[in-house]
Subunit: 334 residues, 2 copies
DNA sequence: CTGAAAGCGCTAACAT
DNA sequence: ATGTTAGCGCTTTCAG
């Protein structure tokens, strides 16, 4: 394999000239650049990435840290959408992305190892593995990082840089849309109070719809089913159910089907999380779509900015949800 | 940050002794190793990964190449399960995993770039992006690689190293299980003839059940639904439907529910792909589980072997499916 | 068992 | 505009 030396000899210039020509320095003449590049191409020269990384003192890479246990991709495909989005924007900026499993209990050690050994320039960390310890370390060490998903415990994450969807706004968007269509009575099928995402969506909904009925349970199809049956048996059947997530939505859908309640006429439904399944449902679901791929894209971009400008002050960034109207809702007049 | 030099000075030895001590050479005395490690720990010394990578002429890393377009994680969570599995076994062997998007049209260029620039030691390639060109290049260049999922076109992949689940065997396993339970009449709800996975599963089923009725369509919930209705209206209702994948299974389930046909009494159902949804279904589905995480684990291990022993002859490797009996089938007597 | 020294291939500051 | 040169921090012969 040809090295920069070989190219230099062949082109009759010094190795630094070759380096500059290939890395696009302004101080080399157009002609020379063309000449050198041609020779390099002829010789099949590709700079040795290991040597570049070493000489530049930068790996041009980031690590995505999160739990990658068995079944994660099935249970939480959203996370991998974010990863895909992050990979895309990082690649565009010349960075590559490592994937590394870790759990909250050892994240601090792992993150420190990566930084101390300089095996990556920045960290993308899934909110689920954030700890207070890590938060302190990252902040103290002024380590380029972005947390994806808002850290759940404010005491742990108040100094971290994070990016998240605005779930409260998503709730508002859903509620406003329903009000516009003329809906008056709604039920919110959500998770328990500890489910931060569900709670945020609920609070958004409540900002617009004051006295909405709230049902709670686990975020599972089973509990969704139970809630669906429960709300059908309410003395006055609500016009629409707002489901905090897809599992609950599927469960409700099952319940309605089992009771032969048609959608959207018998009851309407709005969900969050635009999992493609929402599209396949019959009828396709109206959802407030949170673009998790785009969240990943933004996270990647932000991280690169932080790597390049360590003093940068961006602390948080929120992406905006959009409503996708489909068949599970309709105009109910005024 | 302390370097090896600092540690050497502090420990009163040479840098090569420090290097050997830390990398566990036999030629350094126990005592010396302990002493040096202690000092290194005190100083918070971590070897610079960039320098190690450079000096060792190896990155100790692999790249997973596949299409990471928007929605991939939703449509194909299986791939990310494989990735997670691969990450796990690679990490265990001291390798880290890059994730890189690519499409079939440019994979050859990308793979060549990675190898020529030496930015990774091996390649994990998803079958969906394999091309004939790539196949030739990988083979010629004797480049450490594993294809996950059997390359679809034999002319493209006959010289590649691949790992895949034995889908034909999975079909046999399903059929044998049903025969054991006493089922006599079955329908196979599958994809079109071009769907390699579906076809393999079907051929396995046919090895055991000679004249099974075969329904075909797109692998979608919609077509599954259609097939479900179709098979209910068959002159003689089959005892069980074998669904080639989850989309079709969900569709069938919908159809049965809409016609108030109970499962497994009215009709039984067996699916493949052990997506956790199969567990949440009501009743939970009997499936032939293909452990995609484990496939990833094996792929990672194999790749490391190939990296370490370039001459190694493993060309293909097949993982074995297992049957998970749940509520959607039952004993039908003899 | 330990140390000296020669790289690894490239970048970047500095000199010309 | 181009070349000279000093690293980058570690691994790894090879000599002692």
């Amino acid at each position: 394999m040809a090295t920069i030396k070989d190219v230099a000899r062949e082109a009759g210039v010094s190795i630094s000239t070759v380096s500059k020509a290939i890395n696009g320095s302004y101080t080399i003449s157009e002609e020379q650049i063309k000449h050198i590049k041609k020779i390099a191409a002829q010789m099949g020269y590709k700079p040795n990435a290991r040597a570049q990384t070493f000489a530049r003192k930068s790996t041009r890479s980031a690590v995505f840290l999160s739990c990658l246990d068995r079944n994660t991709a099935f249970v939480n495909p959203h996370m991998f959408e974010m990863i895909s989005g992050a990979e895309s924007s990082l690649r565009e900026k010349g960075y590559s992305l490592f994937l590394q499993h870790c759990e909250a209990k050892d994240i601090c050690h792992i993150a420190k190892g990566i930084i101390d050994s300089k095996s990556a320039d920045g960290l993308l960390i899934h909110a689920s593995v954030i700890t207070r310890e890590l938060s302190i370390m990252l902040t103290r060490g002024n380590i380029p990082h972005i947390v994806i998903g808002k850290p759940e415990k404010p005491e742990a994450g108040n100094s971290l840089c994070w990016i998240d969807n605005n779930n409260c706004l998503a709730g508002e968007v859903a509620a406003r849309y329903l009000l516009e269509l003329g809906y008056k009575t709604a039920v919110f099928a959500g998770g328990y109070e500890t489910d931060k995402i569900s709670e945020d969506r609920l609070s958004g909904v409540q900002n617009e719809m004051k006295d909405i009925v709230v049902l709670r349970g686990e975020s599972s199809i089973g509990d969704g089913n139970r809630m669906g049956l429960e709300l059908l048996s309410l003395p006055e059947r609500p016009q629409v159910v707002i489901c905090a997530n897809n599992h609950l939505a599927y469960g409700c859908l099952q319940a309605f089907r089992s009771k032969n309640v048609s959608i959207p006429d018998g009851i309407s439904l709005v969900a969050f999380d635009d999992h493609p399944f929402a599209l396949f449902m019959n009828p396709p679901l109206t959802t407030v779509s949170i673009d998790v791929y785009e969240m990943g894209v933004q996270a990647g971009k932000l991280l690169v900015s932080k790597i390049r400008k360590p003093g940068m002050q961006v602390q948080s960034f929120t992406t905006v949800p959009t409503l996708v109207a489909r068949g599970s809702t309709h105009n109910v007049g005024t």
